[in-house]
């Protein structure tokens, strides 16, 4: 068999998701945002929800998510995506409504909206990209920044006296009665990506079946903010991030 025999439409087993358009993404090389975007685009199409989905973008690196996945989107003010999503879902209860937020957006300026939306059990999904840093504004300290980790606003490393402690908001989410499914995943290997996809799909299905609110955290890299290469960023994440942010389902009321 030659290469030409194999490269045929009927033999295609994996490609860029159909809902993802050809616009080149603005993310830095190797950024986890891209992988999660692909998963979101794949799942919406696999669920046949193209005409029934409302996505809410954050302020942060994913502010332009609407440029890449061809569904209807609203771009929210910094931190307010869960409030925007709450109204969309309450007013359109047969729609798939999700937010896509970074750690600064979700766990700092928007903590209030995040907690209350989850605690009310809004039938939505929050996709939470935790890269332990403010990517978009150039690598400042985030609430999720690890102890000792250096950022542009804690250049000597995060220390408790000065900066307090890393906020594990996903653990808090799991303790709220309103949440149905809370999971923490990553997207640095093929098997991790498959699990992350299952988690997001499960969350989306819960949202559509009217079961509680759903949060999927993706422990992510930000090679630019971390000032390293994409490959080294993945290694650093495995070594340091997973210790504090443990991968796995924290709560699943559907398949306990």
């Amino acid at each position: 068999m030659t290469r030409e025999d194999i490269i045929r439409p009927e033999n295609l087993v994996y490609g860029k998701p159909q809902l993802m358009n050809d616009v080149s993404m603005h993310y830095c090389p190797g950024c986890s945002h891209g992988v999660v975007h692909k998963l979101v685009a794949e799942i919406i199409a696999e669920m046949g929800m193209e005409e029934k989905t409302i996505g809410i973008c954050p302020v942060g690196c994913a502010v332009f998510a609407y440029r890449y996945i061809d569904i209807d989107w609203q771009e929210a003010a910094h931190g307010r995506a869960p409030a925007v999503a709450t109204a969309c879902k309450r007013l359109w209860d047969d729609r798939l409504v999700f937010t896509y937020q970074g750690d600064g957006d979700l766990a700092c300026i928007g903590t209030c909206e995040t907690i209350h939306t989850l605690n009310r059990g809004e039938k939505i999904t929050i996709i939470f990209i935790n890269n332990a840093i403010y990517g978009m504004t150039g690598g400042q300290m985030a609430p999720t920044t690890l102890m000792g980790m250096k950022t542009s606003t804690c250049p000597y490393g995060r220390e408790p006296q000065l900066h307090g402690y890393p906020l594990n908001i996903t653990d808090i989410a799991a303790s709220l009665e309103g949440t149905a499914f809370v999971s923490r995943q990553s997207v640095h290997t093929t098997s991790a990506i498959r699990k992350a996809k299952q988690a997001i799909r499960h969350a989306f299905e819960n949202s559509m079946n009217g079961i509680g609110s759903n949060l999927v955290e993706i422990v992510s890299t930000c090679s630019s903010g971390w000032k390293t290469s994409p490959v080294k960023a993945n290694e650093w994440m495995e070594e340091h991030m997973f210790e504090h942010y443990k991968i796995g389902d924290l709560k699943d009321t559907v398949h306990p």
Binding site: L12, G30, Y66, I193
Partner: protein
């Protein structure tokens, strides 16, 4: 040879995550080569060894790699497909509640009720097909949320009522609800409205129609729970960032509180812009006779799709471009273009939507200008001064923006002086001065911090300055 890959090298950013993922190590950066964006890109070597395992493509954040395998998807694991119909069971109720609020009342809609201004707003909202109310309690307007929760419209019209966790959340719920094409509203009082300014700014540039009610109280800060009009400037020139306007309606009676709900929604959707009803604690709390609007149903999905083709609700997505509501624009020229479009719209509003009411201005030698609750007191002032033989009239702006500039300019040439009565330190007076442009003397009467004046206070100020 079992598999093959194609790499979109123009999309590649050279992150090398695929190279790490490939179990056979067949990928690496092309030596000393970059694509048109300036990124180094990957190449596959020993192509015949590729098994088409998809590992490289799965990890690629930019979706650059397509994988082909002998036998194609027949041999690959096919992702589980579903259709949205699966989920319909949970939502057969979705279009359910769309009855008229009170069928028996529909006939007797001319019936006169006695209620507070705040309560009238709640009744009017349900009756005029409002889809959702989102708000946070604050005096002196909490009766709006309280009345709505008592009336339970979600069981009749299907209207959503939600107590938000803050005013910040409430205004962003409006951003979401209005953006998806629904008729949504919130209400608050001065300190809460201050918190909403960010959201209002976002809704103007994204052209999201919503209704915001401010039942004003005295400030600054927590101030007092007593009535005030000190948010005039914030409402009419915009308290958030950017060059924007909201249409501002100033009711002076419980009847207008009820009527301006529907009018507010009509204007909001006509111009795709937030509308603010600027009321105050006097009108919110006072009991008065009111004829409630005739009930009409909420719009169906088809009607919304027709009226709001811009709305983000997924409707008909496969046959159109995605709808995106965003305020962010990286190219200044494009941002300028969007701003200019907004300004064009505002010019049209200024031309077509000015509303005011005048009393005995035809023969007036003096004019009193006032809006909202103090305009009622000013009516009494007109009566008392007329009985003393002074020819004075009242001009009451109903739209504070657009301001009745032409009528004020016209009267400015007719009268010897204008007294502007406000429950603030002099805010509307700036617009009056601008309109008359020096053609007549303009003086201010004001009580601050939540004090409601008596007619004789206005009269003594008038006599002191003009007689």
């Amino acid at each position: 040879m079992q598999g093959a890959i194609e790499i979109n090298q123009e999309r590649c950013k050279g992150c090398r995550l695929c190279a790490v993922a490939c179990p056979l190590g067949l990928l690496d950066l092309a030596k000393r080569k970059v694509n048109r964006k300036g990124y180094p890109y990957v190449e596959q070597h020993d192509k015949e060894k590729c098994t088409g395992c998809t590992a490289c493509a799965i990890v690629c954040p930019d979706g650059c790699i397509s994988v082909y395998r002998e036998g194609g998807l027949r041999r690959a694991k096919v992702p589980q497909q579903t259709t949205p119909e699966v989920f319909q069971t949970a939502y057969t109720e979705s279009e359910k509640g769309n009855q008229l609020p009170h069928p028996e009342e529909a006939q007797s809609s001319q019936e006169v009720h006695l209620m507070k201004g705040n309560e009238a707003i709640a009744h009017a909202a349900i009756r005029c097909g409002c889809d959702g109310y989102f708000g946070y309690p604050i005096t002196p307007q909490s009766e709006i949320l309280e009345t709505l929760t008592q009336l339970k419209p979600w069981e009749t019209t299907g209207m959503v009522v939600l107590q938000a966790e803050s005013e910040v959340a409430a205004i962003n719920m409006l951003y979401g609800g209005g953006g998806s094409g629904k008729r949504v509203m919130t209400s608050s009082s001065s300190p809460g409205i201050a918190l909403m300014q960010e959201g209002i700014s976002y809704m103007t540039i994204t052209e999201i129609p919503t209704l915001i009610i401010n039942v004003q109280r005295g400030g600054p800060g927590l101030g007092t729970i007593q009535p005030s009009q000190s948010d005039y400037r914030q409402a009419t020139v915009g308290g958030g960032n950017g060059d924007y306007r909201v249409i501002v309606l100033a009711p002076w009676s419980v009847q207008e509180m009820a009527d301006f709900v529907d009018l507010g929604f009509e204007l909001a959707f006509k111009y795709r812009n937030p509308v603010m009803m600027l009321s105050d604690g006097v009108i919110g709390q006072m009991m008065e006779k009111v004829i409630l609007p005739t009930p009409k149903p909420r719009r169906t999905e088809e009607q919304i799709a027709k009226e709001c083709p811009w709305a983000t609700n997924g409707h008909g997505l496969k046959g159109r471009k995605p709808n995106i509501l965003t305020s962010l624009e990286m190219i200044p020229l494009e941002m300028e273009r969007r701003n200019l479009e907004m300004q064009k719209k505002y010019a049209q509003v200024e031309r077509d939507e000015v509303r005011y009411e005048s009393y005995q201005t035809e023969d007036a030698e003096y004019l009193i200008m006032a809006f909202g609750s103090i305009a009622r007191i000013s009516m009494e002032v007109v009566g008392i001064l007329r009985s003393k033989g002074i020819r004075i009239g009242l001009l009451r702006p109903i739209t504070l923006w657009p301001f009745p500039e032409k009528e004020v300019a016209r009267l400015g040439k007719q009268v010897k002086g204008i007294i502007v009565a406000e429950m603030n330190a002099g805010q509307m007076i700036d617009d009056v001065r601008k309109a008359v442009c020096g053609s007549t003397k303009v003086i201010h009467f004001g009580r601050l911090g939540g004090v409601v004046p008596e007619p004789n206070e206005i009269i003594s100020q008038f006599e002191q300055d003009f007689l």
